[in-house]
């Protein structure tokens, strides 16, 4: 992990029509490209970003229909770019959810082991 950065996300669902395609993981993928490597840890309510689901409801505003941010699509793109994405498993279970619900490629780990990785990163950033 030398030279890589770690992005921690614990504040989720920040913006809908004002964000659209440009969600947190779109940003993270840009950082991943520029910095030579960025991994992501989801904790708190943000763990549901990694929970798989079907198509999302669109936002109807008068005659207009908007696609709201799709964090799973963005996470898949991040994983495809070789970023490691981990979920804080106790936070997931605190919501009554289980690891079998998360996206393929996302790893569920205990909180302490995720924090113990911090010294191995060039920097730890809360997005």
């Amino acid at each position: 992990m030398a030279g890589r950065y770690l992005a921690v996300v614990d504040h989720a669902y920040r913006g809908g029509p004002e964000v659209q395609f440009c969600d947190l993981f779109y940003l993270a993928r840009g950082l991943h490209r520029q910095l030579g490597g960025l991994d992501v840890v989801l904790r708190g309510p943000a763990v549901t970003y990694a929970v798989d689901t079907g198509p999302l409801p669109r936002l109807r505003v008068g005659a207009r229909h908007l696609d709201l941010p799709d964090p799973r699509r963005s996470l898949r793109a991040l994983l495809a770019a070789d970023s490691a994405v981990s979920v804080d498993e106790p936070a997931l279970r605190a919501l009554g959810l289980t690891p079998d619900r998360v996206l393929p490629g996302v790893v569920c780990r205990d909180s302490a082991s995720l924090t113990r990785d911090w010294p191995d990163y060039e920097g730890v950033w809360f997005l």
């Binding site: 669902y13 920040r14 913006g15 809908g16 029509p17 004002e18 964000v19 659209q20 395609f21 440009c22 779109y26 840009g30 936002l59 109807r60 505003v61 008068g62 005659a63 207009r64 908007l66 709201l68 793109a77």
Partner: protein, 134 residues
């Protein structure tokens, strides 16, 4: 410009965009009320005053993953509603909050009002919902 009649629902929106699903919920509610023929007035305070700036243009910045795709700006979304429901929908911006944040000028149809206007709006509305967070 003719005076707008009292609103069935006044939404005082002071929470910050880009921080939660607040704007999604507000627009869902506005859409539902307008479809029923109810009149709605949004009073935009705090950072909500940023959403209707003319400088935002019609579209969001380009998506580097799909350079051809175009996504509407929040200003365009509000403008669209104002055009679609001219007799039922209004969007007023708090002049103090806008000036304090450098937000403006705003797209046509959005009115900038003195903060002292809020009491008048509340008095005239059948129902007021205060959505805090500024």
């Amino acid at each position: 410009m003719a005076a707008r009649p009292p609103a069935d629902v006044l939404l005082v929106v002071t929470g910050a965009p880009f921080a939660s699903d607040m704007l999604t919920t507000v627009l869902r509610l506005v859409d539902e009320l307008l479809r029923r023929g109810r009149s709605v007035l949004v009073w935009a305070c705090g950072y909500t005053t940023m959403l209707t700036q003319a400088a935002l243009g019609a579209h969001k910045p380009r998506d580097v993953d799909d350079w051809a795709a175009r996504y509407p700006s929040t200003a365009a979304v509000v403008s669209g509603l104002l055009a679609e429901y001219p007799a039922l929908f209004g969007w007023e911006v708090c002049a103090y909050c806008a000036q304090d944040r450098g937000a403006g000028p705003h797209v046509p149809g959005v009115r900038t009002r003195a903060p002292s206007r809020i009491g008048t709006n509340v008095a005239a509305a059948r129902t007021t919902v205060y959505i805090g967070g500024a």
